[in-house]
Subunit: 334 residues, 2 copies
């Protein structure tokens, strides 16, 4: 079945295409007779008209589409963010197309290309490690975009992220306040600055509390081999001459794997070991000592990202960089 076009409606209503376009877009309302307008609307209804967005875009150079690139849509952090972004975008009459980079810079670049071809009006992106170049290319194209969750220290661009350093500092300080003296940290071995900021915040907290950081307290694990490396680091932490008495996990994935292992070792939390982690995860809700964790204000990240993007699409402006505050959710693991 051929879809109805403006022409079909014009023919049926016995008016010009121009008029049909105006009426269906609610333009020039004051100078179109009510009768004609009603006639057009009726014809459109009868023909079950749906505007052809491709034609519209070609003419107006606007698609009312925003592209969203996350690391992995099946990760709750990103799927929750996607939901917020989708809801906000829909309210503003935008549609979202999405893609997962799988933390791979090449796939990321490909997604950027696809989205540009599709003439998205703007993008919200969580760039993977090593994609600075692509971000810079994107800037040259003058296509508005806002980064979320991540940033590159030496790329001046819009972003909305957590103040990761401060969040990690808060988490660590909480362990210090509970009287812990030997605080270990497990984080990823990565070039992503927002993750490394967490280690920096941890070190800062120790320093501020007069605790001398020892390098054997820091485990930087390979993400490709996380389970094994987490277990190995935990073993190492516990076998120290002076074993750690608290641990800070810089991601919920690390926390979940670590807690499972500690559980199997019958380590008592928080008696033997106090724990704090980054990000929520249902996985820890039914653990006997639910983990105290750093909560990221996902809704604020999403809303700010959309709002900044909308403003930039309206009219280019100097980069806005937002670092939001964490919330420490205190439960029973400290």
């Amino acid at each position: 079945v051929k879809k109805a076009s403006l022409k079909d409606i014009a023919l049926k209503a016995g008016v010009s295409i121009t008029l049909v376009s105006y009426v269906l877009n609610n333009q020039k309302q004051d100078r179109i007779s009510k009768v004609t307008a009603e006639k057009i609307r009726k014809a459109a209804r009868q023909l079950n008209y749906r505007p052809n967005q491709a034609a519209k875009s070609l003419k107006t150079n606007k698609t009312n589409t925003i592209g969203l690139i996350v690391a992995d849509i099946s990760n709750p952090f990103f799927s929750c963010l996607a939901k917020i972004i989708e809801d906000e975008a829909n309210k503003k009459n935008y549609t979202v197309i999405f893609g997962s980079s799988h933390e791979d810079a090449d796939r990321f670049a490909k997604l950027l290309d696809t989205f540009i071809s599709r003439q998205v009006d703007g993008m919200i992106i969580a760039p993977p490690q090593g994609s600075e170049k692509h971000i810079r290319d994107l800037q040259k194209q003058k296509l508005p975009f806002v980064m979320v969750d991540r940033y590159f220290p030496d790329v001046v661009a819009d972003y909305v992220i957590l103040d990761n350093k401060n969040a990690a500092r808060t988490a660590t300080q909480h362990l210090v306040d509970a009287g812990r003296k030997r605080i270990g940290i497990i984080s990823y071995k990565t070039g992503l600055q927002h993750l490394n900021d967490r280690t920096l915040g941890y070190k800062q907290a120790l320093k501020e509390s007069g605790i001398t950081f020892k390098k054997e307290w820091l485990a930087q694990i390979d993400i490709a081999n996380k389970k094994e490396e987490i277990e190995r680091s935990l073993d190492a932490f516990l076998k120290l001459a002076e074993p750690v008495d608290a641990l800070f996990f810089t991601s919920n994935t690390i926390a979940t794997l670590a807690v499972k292992y500690l559980n199997s070792l019958s380590i008592r939390v928080p008696r033997d070991l106090s724990l704090v982690c980054f990000d929520e995860t249902e996985a820890l809700d039914l653990f006997y000592a639910p983990l105290t964790y750093i909560r990221q204000p996902l809704d604020q990240i999403g809303e700010n990202a959309i709002n900044i993007l909308m403003k930039k699409m309206e009219k280019p402006s100097r980069p806005l960089q937002l670092q939001l505050k964490e919330e420490l959710i205190i439960r029973k693991s400290v």
Copy 2:
């Protein structure tokens, strides 16, 4: 900055637009001279050319886009499905646009309209309760689509779902096999057939085992008020003259809430109560008795949905209806 068009490339390379189009689309390769082709490719590269998908679509009536409508992208079930669909679609050079219906038929209808306007080539949808009418309208439009997770008994259309009745039967049978005699079930009060099929499967299993179903074993809760109603049903189950000795939860959300409550009542699992639930949830991993559950083959659902859709987009065919088999993951709750 104005983006480069075929015309710009043609001008720069000193050839016709026709030739540029052929070369960049790798068409008629045998009758274009290597030299010209290379000249064109070089110009395209220099101008940083990206095809305008809107123009392409307008002309070819194909967008290489598929629409995905789920109930809620932040629900792990759907975000995992979305990931699979996105990956498969990308491989086949399709882009995915998505929307969440929030289980609301009106929002669902609006998303359908948007996607139709955007000329998607096909859709994968998880329709909400009460959307039969919209599905029928969609069929009239001849736009290929495949339903996932849900179906309507009296709508003949393509779908890929779990064989829910059989899955529930398996789950219930497992409890019977463990010697349980009074098996309760908590499910949603809903018009969605795939959920009601789970209750049917439960009843069938009881019947097959010679156990007479009692209506006080069935709790149908209101999704809007689930926490309270789950707790109330559990109280009721336990206060029966002959309390239930096993429970079947027809969703992971129900299971998580129920287990939290049972935990607070110090009910011992599986000693006092054996539990089985539908769908995985990390939330139960660290519970002392991880729940035995029905696993849906998400990857198969996603892959089949895409494959069926691709075939239908190629050429219309009679509806294909796939009911996939569950997997019972046995853990410690029975």
